[in-house]
């Protein structure tokens, strides 16, 4: 039955960047769909809030404060998950984001800023994949979901670190997919468009009026796509990127959803 294949009952999912926004939304949705959650982020207080929301669904939530730019901490995250639950079925490499270099003139960007950005967005995902893969190979089953961006597919003015790291995410995904296809491990990317998490962002993105569908995404809309990619319903989807952007990339808008204004 197709609907049963979309459930995550009994699965264990590690989600990085789970302290807020899309990460928390995915954690809660996964729990509602039957998975136990290993929530990682830097800030304990935010993780506590995520854990509270997860536990309301009746599922377990293990909190592991983690700096994903430090590989020993990411290894420890995987070990903590194994110790608590005995297995890892799903990894969502969600941590990351823009930084102070966005919009900066190229000569002004320091080595440190570049490295920190690439570490946060790309190296962290590599560390995550590397930490869980021996276990997934052993159990001959696994799902890895990397969060990319429209900037991973298209360029943007004064957007260097972010576009490069997200492009790297997509290539990491493809090479993971091909390397581990034989072990029944599927690695895919979600390419989120604009998800205004708060009123300030809503104003900045003009309420999403330049997005083809006429609005930004709601955090809750990301969960079901992640569920699909984490479930048995996607067992032959591998190395794929799925944009959830209200049509932004389909129109050749560069990057996802950001001008030109299409209509009112």
């Amino acid at each position: 039955m197709i609907l049963d294949s979309l459930k995550l009952d009994g699965k264990v999912a590690i989600i990085t960047g789970a302290g807020r926004g899309l990460g928390r939304a995915m954690a809660v949705k996964f729990a509602e769909t039957g998975a136990d959650i290993v929530a990682a982020a830097r800030t304990q207080s935010q993780l506590d809030e995520t854990a509270e929301a997860v536990k309301k669904t009746g599922r377990k939530c293990l909190i592991v404060p983690t700096d994903v730019t430090v590989s020993v901490q990411v290894n420890a995250l995987a070990e903590a998950a194994l110790k608590e639950f005995g297995k890892i079925d799903i990894l969502i490499n969600n941590a990351g984001g823009g930084d102070g270099t966005l919009g900066k003139q190229l000569p002004e960007i320091t080595d440190d800023e570049w490295r920190r950005g690439i570490d946060t967005n790309l190296s962290s995902q590599f560390y995550g994949c590397r930490a869980v893969i021996p276990h997934m190979v052993k159990q001959k089953r696994g799902k890895i979901i990397n969060i990319a961006s429209g900037y991973g597919l298209r360029g943007g003015k004064h957007n260097f670190m972010y576009a490069c790291s997200k492009g790297g995410t997509i290539q990491l995904t493809r090479s993971m997919a091909l390397t581990y296809a034989h072990f029944n491990i599927q690695t895919n990317c979600i390419v989120p468009g604009i998800f205004p998490h708060n009123q300030e962002m809503m104003v900045f993105f003009k309420g999403g009026k330049f997005i083809p569908i006429g609005r930004g995404g709601d955090d809750s809309e990301l969960g079901p796509l992640a569920v699909f990619l984490a479930s048995d319903a996607s067992n032959h989807v591998n190395g794929e990127l799925i944009a959830i952007d209200g049509g932004g990339l389909a129109g050749g808008i560069t990057p996802t959803g950001v001008s030109p204004e299409t209509s009112n």
């Binding site: 609907l3 039957g34 296809a181 319903a233 944009a243």
Partner: protein, 261 residues
């Protein structure tokens, strides 16, 4: 363990779906998937004289718990698709979901393909999809929207020898999907595609015991063909309200083929 509520997100309970090209393997699998998810179904064939095949598909849909209505292609494609879209809205009360699985594989050397071949391949693989989108949207637009999914192929983005026109038509369906998605984005119609990998079905050139099939299997990331039912997950996701922010997108179900060099 308490059962989770996945079905809430992906259920199509109360939705009305039309599957065009339902006599083929992909249409058959699509219809069964949508029925399992609770949708009411109209099965429409792409060719005249396919009564027998469509009835077989109807049996499977029935087994999935939904009694489908049947339309066997009889008039010109345009007239037929137009009437079928209206029929669905009238009989099922709405046309919420349209799945176009129109497909006629065509192989042969480019030098041997004449203008008639061109017209035929484009008609069967592109023009029919275009007409079906138009007719489906005509009905959907009067009712506040709907969802269209066009099933195309990984060959939309990869060339292969001896299938130039087929590849061109499949690519056209992919970009048709994007363009229509933008055109109807604010009118409540989402348009997406599924790119099927090399299929294991009755019309596949890839499941023969010949050199082509053997080489292809070696090249595929997990060395196997795609079963038509494996498109079901992506199809259901795209058709469900859970994908409300997804339009103009395509999901490849190909085991990773499109990711490799």
């Amino acid at each position: 363990m308490a059962s989770s509520n996945a079905s809430n997100d992906f259920s199509l309970e109360g939705k009305s779906a039309l599957v065009v090209g339902a006599e083929h393997s992909v249409g058959r699998a699509a219809a069964v998937t949508l029925a399992e998810a609770g949708a009411k179904i109209v099965l429409a064939s792409q060719e005249p004289g396919t009564d027998k095949q469509i009835k077989e598909v109807a049996k499977l849909v029935n087994a999935a718990g939904v009694k489908p209505l049947i339309r066997v292609q009889s008039a010109s494609m345009r007239a037929d698709l137009s009437a079928t879209a209206d029929f669905t809205a009238k009989q099922l009360g709405a046309l919420d979901i349209l799945v176009n699985t129109l497909d006629t594989p065509a192989y042969g050397p480019a030098e041997a393909s004449d203008d008639t071949t061109f017209d035929k391949v484009m008609e069967n693989n592109l023009k029919t999809v275009w007409m079906s989108c138009q007719e489906g949207a005509r009905v959907m637009l009067t009712r506040g929207g709907g969802v269209i999914v066009n099933v195309t192929s990984v060959l939309a983005e990869r060339g292969v020898p001896n299938a130039a026109l087929y590849c061109a038509a499949k690519a056209a369906v992919l970009n048709l999907t994007r363009a229509l998605a933008l055109e109807w984005a604010r009118k409540g119609i989402r348009v997406n595609a599924i790119q099927a990998g090399w299929l294991d079905d009755e019309s596949s050139p890839a499941n023969k015991n010949d050199e082509f099939s053997k080489n292809l299997l070696k090249y595929l990331p997990d060395n196997r063909l795609v079963k038509p039912e494996e498109l079901g997950g992506a199809l259901l996701y795209l058709c469900s309200p859970a994908a409300g922010f997804v339009t103009g997108e395509s999901i490849a179900v190909d085991g990773g083929l499109r990711a490799r060099v």
